[in-house]
Symmetry: C2
Subunit: 269 residues, 2 copies
């Protein structure tokens, strides 16, 4: 879970271990053993051999831009094609590009990133279609939202992690809070951890990470919209979010984090 800060990633690790999943980090896979039928039967590392029915490789994604490179099209530092706001390849009137092969503007850091996600690719496709057909549409950029599941564990993030903020010279306060998905007295209220980063002095929201169970993940959308709008954590404390006991505590967990972050920012001024 390199998409989270290590402290939040640790929550995922602990939850997975609680599900009976053995975690082995930092071990190099040297071999995959197959049986007589050609199907995989074990993963071999330098120190051990793990029996396996299925092996899943999660090794990241890089843009496939060999054709673009050979054609002399402009590529960014992450290897993705560079486009303008209309998804036109920079400097080429009649070439558009979108999806996993392009770099996109991160609205929070102001820098280009490579984020291969279906939701961006789908938007790009629509924008390119509109422009290629003589219409007008633009892609303003992303805030880096992602959500995923491990069994019933929900994991979400948007904006900058601590190391992202450091890299672009943003100083921040960081808070982490525990809350629940529903009012505490309501059946099936499940615990949730929310981490929030806010810029020093301005109090601008920089990022949110959430680890919890059912109802946790999509709460990241609150922060995704707030990031897009450039809200401060102080402004966020007043957000009029949906409240009823089956849906949220009276202060939504994201607002509890915003309150704590706003207090910390005020104290730092």
């Amino acid at each position: 879970m390199a998409t989270l800060d290590p402290d939040m990633g640790l929550l995922v690790r602990r939850a997975m271990e609680g599900m009976g999943i053995t975690m082995v980090n930092g071990a190099e896979v040297t071999k995959l053993l197959t049986g007589d039928d050609g199907a995989v039967r074990a993963v071999v590392t330098e120190d051990a051999e793990y029996p396996a029915d299925v092996v899943i490789l999660g090794i990241g994604v890089r843009p496939e831009t060999a054709l673009a490179r050979a054609a002399g099209l402009p590529l960014g530092e992450h290897g993705g094609l560079l486009t303008d706001r209309s998804m036109r390849v920079r400097g080429y009137e009649n070439i558009w590009a979108g999806g996993d092969c392009v770099e996109v503007l991160d609205l929070v850091s102001g820098q280009l990133r490579h984020i291969p996600l279906g939701t961006h690719a789908n938007k790009h496709g629509q924008i390119i279609g509109a422009n290629a057909g003589g219409g007008y549409a633009t892609f303003p950029g992303v805030v880096g939202t992602a959500v995923s599941k491990v069994c019933d564990l929900e994991i979400a993030r948007t904006g900058l992690r601590e190391k992202d903020a450091h890299r672009v010279g943003l100083r921040f306060e960081s808070v982490t809070i525990e809350s629940t998905s529903r009012a505490g007295y309501y059946p099936n209220a499940s615990p949730m951890t929310v981490k929030m980063l806010a810029e020093l002095r301005t109090g601008r929201l920089l990022g949110v990470q959430i680890v919890g169970r059912e109802g946790a993940g999509k709460r990241v959308d609150i922060a995704a919209v707030a990031l897009t709008a450039g809200m401060t954590v102080e402004q966020m404390t007043a957000l009029d979010l949906g409240y009823a006991p089956p849906f949220s505590p009276v202060w939504d967990p994201v607002l509890v984090a915003a309150r704590k972050a706003a207090t910390k920012i005020r104290a730092s001024l």
Copy 2:
């Protein structure tokens, strides 16, 4: 469900009828019959008698401001106390008021409303405490978010309904879309209806209503934050919301509505 437009309220009615609940609207209750043990046993209307073990009266809420009225404090047209942004009663240096007895500014219509909700009352309490204690905090207003459940049906709204917009002189386009809570191919994807109002010319989001099942209700928060930020539906189409098949179709239902609304606004220009 007067909190929704009639077309969306009809979805709630149909869903409740589908649960085997008999709906009787517009009938005046003339009497509650009790048994020998003093417990209720039937509800009587002009035309019928309904056996009952429990009777729940949902008759609305009015601010209890008799004391304030007797003391000559300023009340608004809905009968609630009028405060400034610090929740100080207008014109009274040392009296603060919050919760169900005050009127609050609706940020979308620009008018005062009476919205008795625990989440607002809780914010008011914190703000009053800060100010009474010599600190500084303010309540900017509300956007009219509410979410509720009927069995597994989730019902949510934020911003203005059609009649609210008419009342304050706002003209709008309205769209209604059908989508699902998860990717269509994912287990337990459930249908969801989203209605969205956007102001003519400006395209500013005015309101959202959602009726669906699990995962539908809290999506209203996306619109609540967008309303607070004064976003247009065109801007909303680019929102970077959490996407993975267990959480959302590749275009979140709120974005599907925003796309359709933006198309309609462009066509009306």
